[in-house]
Amino acid sequence: MVDISKINDNTYEVPIGYRPGMRVPGRIFVSAALREMVEPGTVDQVANVATLPGIVKYSMAMPDAHLGYGFPIGGVAAFREDGGIISPGGVGFDINCGVRLLRSDLEAKSVQPLINTLVSALFEAVPSGLGATGRLHATDQQLTQAFISGSKWAVEEGYGFEADLTHCEENGHMPGADPAQVSVRARKRGRPQLGTLGSGNHFLEIQRVEEIFDEEVAKKFGLFKGQITVMIHCGSRGAGHQICTDHLEVLSKAVKKYNIDIPDKQLACAPLGSPEADSYFGGMVCAANYAWANRHIIAHWTREVFKKYFPDSNLDLVYDVAHNVAKIEEHDVDGRRERLYVHRKGATRAFGPSRSEVPDAYRKVGQPVLIPGSMGTPSYVLCGNDRALDITFGSACHGAGRVMSRSQAIRTFTGKDVQAALNRDGIVVRATSPNMLAEEAPQVYKPSGDVVDVVHNLGIATKVAKLVPLGVSKG
């Protein structure tokens, strides 16, 4: 077997021949220290993706890469419209799991004394945890509108402001939604959950801007040292999970119909332009829009809580990014402009100033790239750079990346200890299940700073600000 080779300090190549059928090499963007944390299975998954038809340039893994299903988590791959495929394995079950960052005009010193009250109020205001249903009680018709128009629908319903929309990737509503591709079962799961945070690694966090790395860009993003920010991390809930499950079944049969040889069933796919591919894309976009609507509604309730305790304050939207999605984008490939289906699974779009998709407010510098840490570790705001277009189809990492399994975490930590340790560090945590807290202990993730440094050093996105948690509400 051919082994992986080092290209530079932060890039490793998985050569064609690492496994049979690879059409392009793999690229894993990690430092030497992070390379040690990449499991062999993750490298195999990078190689598996490289066998898919129509893949362009490389099958890539971001610095937070770890073992996933189908694509690795942190996987990025682009496929030609002509001859390529679309695969739910490159998007995941939690379609458009993403992050939204709100900035306040408050300084940490005025919020800190109320942090316990605020976290409890947020925990009450935003339904979270397993089996949680929303305060919304959406009708079937409203659900359809959420699938079609995402955040735009939420604004029409009185959640958030029109100005928020331009500060969301895809303006919070991606074109191409086809509600006919969403099953009754997906609707049944999704309808009561609209406006809920969920469980697992999803969170709602009050943070303090601890460090500014780039004053000029931070000013553009409206960030300053000592400022209070709020980060929301969640996705499309049961709607997205069921849409993925339903289409995975269809696509697992499509690979036989179209004679596509796949090394892993989770990489089930269909040729772009086929009815199965169109159907999955239409359903996936519905889930993506649902997730944007969901984060919009949660942001609205967060604003209500802050208004109650700080009536003169405002929470403005910095940006909202998708972590799990497949999108049609134009990129330069060998000197030609091509329409590609870019799959990002556990990866963030990181477009620089040259891209028209970046909102006007940030066009001079690039889009905000939001990298959440774990409960006890810092989150980062970076700025997208045009260099990323050449290296990663304009993509960066999406978080710290797990390094310890959930079962090992439960064996190693107790929820009570994790909570006590966080409290010692001055971080207030409210969670519905102590066991789930153990699984998400800060130690189960790679150091978020190391992951972000690789992105910064490669120049695909540059560091702007470091945010530290003060209070966390978790499912």
Binding site: M37, E39, P40, H66, L67, G68, Y69, G70, I73, G89, G92, F93, D94, L130, G131, R185, K188, R189, G198, S199, G200, G238, H241, Q242, C244, T245, L248, E249, S252, K253, D264, K265, Q266, A268, R402, V403, M404, S405, R406, S407, Q408, I410, T432, S433, N435, M436, E439, G475
Partner: protein, 193 residues
């Protein structure tokens, strides 16, 4: 012979573990003889998972981000019922669930593997839409051109006072999803949590 083989595997696993501590040291092939499980399983997670004839119904394997399990059975029906138990035990301790209500499932598919995938996905769907937790699973299968599954699931509505969740299974993945038959049936699956 079996012990020599096992010693070799353990040594190999220990070496792999030394080289890369993230890798689970012992992983058994799907077609490993059933005899092995009768004698040597010492996973404490399994203590409540044995049945009368000593075949373990399922086992969990290490996975960085998700839950991986293998479920066994003397018949495909038993394997599918055990797989459902494995899925649910990853969420809630079955000892805390009283099977006072029942749900029926009927599925049909050309392939056993797809049928199994749909069966497990159905349980996730019912858990969420019925707000219920399940502890008993009975499966009957019929092959007449296509596979037909009839399932009966016993459980109760979620009571967060009694039901403490360890994970929320979002979905059943198809990654490394497979069924094998040797001298027993074995289903391997990875759950997205």
């Amino acid at each position: 012979m079996q012990w020599i083989w096992l010693f070799g595997r353990a040594l190999c696993g220990a070496w792999k573990s030394f080289r890369n501590p993230l890798e689970f040291p012992l992983e058994f092939p799907l077609d490993f003889p059933l005899e092995f499980f009768r004698q040597s399983i010492s996973n404490p997670l399994m203590s409540s998972a044995r049945n009368n004839n000593e075949m373990i119904p399922f086992e969990y394997l290490e996975h960085t981000a998700d839950v991986k399990f293998r479920a066994f059975g003397h018949s495909p029906e038993e394997m599918l019922a055990n797989a459902a138990s494995a899925l649910f035990k990853a969420m809630v301790d079955p000892a805390t669930i009283v099977a006072k209500e029942s749900w029926k499932v009927e599925l049909e598919d050309d392939e056993l593997e797809t049928l199994a995938y749909r069966w497990l996905s159905e349980i996730v769907f019912l858990f969420e839409t019925e707000s219920a937790v399940f502890s008993t699973f009975a499966v009957s299968l019929e092959k007449n051109g296509t596979w037909k599954l009839q399932g009966e699931i016993g459980g109760e509505r979620i009571d967060l006072g009694r039901h403490s969740f360890e994970n929320e299974v979002k979905a059943v993945t198809m990654h490394q999803f497979q069924i094998k038959k040797n001298d027993h049936w074995c289903l391997q699956a990875i759950l997205d949590v």
